[in-house]
Point group: C2
Chain length 330, copies 2
């Protein structure tokens, strides 16, 4: 019985630029017992998200890599939770974790498969929901551009924009992803930024200019979008995957001229600004998923041991849909 | 009697980069007679403003340089205006101009010297008023940074911020200008961007970060301010004097990281977005000027023939206060 082992991915060295697998160490420790007020959770689906690259730059060496996961309560010393319950929380890259009243969230089983609680109905879906509706403020008829359009956030952004009567231009990194955005998700135009000149393609795709830009990438793609802003446009900076591996800021063409001449707004955002509205947002997203108005795609990697490789691939754009590590059979 | 001559500065060649005096031509034409619905105005004070550099890039060769001026009605075929009235309008760089019902604005003589109608009580003052209050949304206790702080717009920005209970950090281009901002206008700290490292100085001047940045300059100064943004800060892009002479966008360090990490907003602006509120804003500014809460400084250049030289100097930061060409004795 090789039991009482909790495998954990810990930070071995702080990456300078793109992480490599040698920056991570697979450690083992005993499965912890919950203290009063805690639950022991066995992780079932671990969520990999690009923003974690930023966290790693300030995480302690030897610490478990941070992430959100969904799992099953194995043992509970916390009121309101019992063994077998499905909960979500910041368990990190490990097989078992402890959560408490401030960090354990019950997952509503009526909403769908539990993996969606860290995907379309979780942080990525809520990020799309609040970032688009609250910061970009789209109006029917607006042209909405979204980068990383086939990803966990981008796909939801575009679909909410379509529900709202917008024209959606998708930017993604392969013909397959672009085809998925247009053919499966119903976006109006797709641009493959690896094979097309983004600025030129946007000139055709958004002849009246870009009213809303949901920015998941930063860097040259964002600069290309800036050249096509409509008057009074709104851009939300949600992610900067093209820049996460940079130490010092890289250089790019100055963008103030475009913001100035179009009286446009650009605004940084994270979903953590909206905690009091999370449940409302989740309920709305769940209705749209149930009705089929929002589709989602999961990119499932089997095996905890593959976490670093999958994460590094994600930072390079290799995943296609919401990236999850399947930790164990449900 | 060398009469019936209207001297005009016209665009001779479109400057590539900083304009030179040879880009302007001093032409003469007969003084026009007003048609039905027009007034003939003799220009008394012509306003020189950095934004005009942008206009010149798209103005017709041979056309009179655009500007706002204040003058006296010499002849009127427009209801509501009579000879002797003081009016303001886009007369341009010429001694006499025609205005009509859409372009002639009566100047309220109760508000103060008529030159203020194109300065502290005109477009520059209103730009400060709406850009600061409506876009930057300062709150008491906020740290407000303003560039070109001794200029026609910046000086009003800082003084309104002080009235509102903010801490004001002034960025200007000489020790004399910095001293004026601090000693005369009551700003809290001044930074001479020509002799100090702006980022380092801001680290000391705004230890809790910059809540509001009123940007008149763009370029490296703006990039330095971005490094010091407070959470949820608001920047208004009002002017980009450091960039106006550029053709293609110049390169600079990418700023999205700062906006993203602080959930900050940056927004392009011109005062022309607020026409319905101009008279309210002007009345408030006039009250503050009367009460002494807002001071203003005029940089008066005598002689119409000196217009190009004065304007070129302004683009290089040579003026000190609101730059006016004195066209004639009142």
């Amino acid at each position: 019985m090789p039991e009482n082992v909790n495998r954990q991915w810990v930070l071995k060295s702080r990456p300078d630029g793109m992480p490599t697998e040698t920056d991570f160490d697979l450690a083992e420790s005993p499965i912890p017992g919950p203290e009063f007020g805690q639950v022991l959770v066995k992780s079932l689906w671990n969520s990999l998200d690009p923003y974690m690259r930023g966290r790693i730059s300030s995480s302690p060496i030897g610490g478990v890599i941070e992430s959100e996961a969904v799992g099953r309560v194995m043992e509970s010393k916390l009121d309101g939770f019992k063994p077998g319950d499905i909960v979500r929380g910041r368990i990190g890259w490990q097989e078992y974790g402890l959560l408490d009243v401030t960090s354990a969230y019950a997952v509503n089983p009526d909403y769908g498969p539990i993996s969606t609680s860290v995907g379309v109905l979780g942080m990525p879906g809520l990020t799309a929901y609040f970032g688009l509706l609250d910061v970009c403020e789209p109006k029917p008829g607006d042209t909405v551009v979204v980068s990383s359009a086939s990803g966990a956030v981008g796909a939801v952004v575009g679909q909410i924009a379509k529900i709202g009567g917008c024209r959606v231009v998708a930017i993604a990194g392969s013909d397959e992803k672009v085809a998925y955005c247009v053919d499966e998700l119903g976006f109006d135009v797709g641009i493959n930024y690896k094979t097309e000149d983004v600025s030129e393609a946007l000139g055709k795709a958004a002849p009246n200019g870009v009213d809303c830009y949901f920015d998941n990438v930063g860097g040259p793609i964002t600069e290309a979008v800036m050249e096509h802003l409509a008057m009074y446009s709104r851009t939300v900076i949600c992610g900067r995957i093209s820049e996460y591996n940079e130490g010092e800021p890289s250089m790019g063409p100055r963008i103030l001229r475009y913001l100035h001449s179009t009286r446009s707004r650009i605004q940084g955002f994270t979903v953590n600004q909206y905690p009091s509205q999370f449940e409302d947002g989740r309920a709305q997203l769940a209705r749209w998923v149930k009705s089929g108005e929002i589709k989602y795609r999961e990119d499932i990697v089997e095996g905890f041991e593959n976490s670093p490789k999958a994460f590094i691939g994600q930072l390079g754009g290799a995943n296609f849909g919401k990236l999850l590590i399947k930790m164990s059979d449900e």
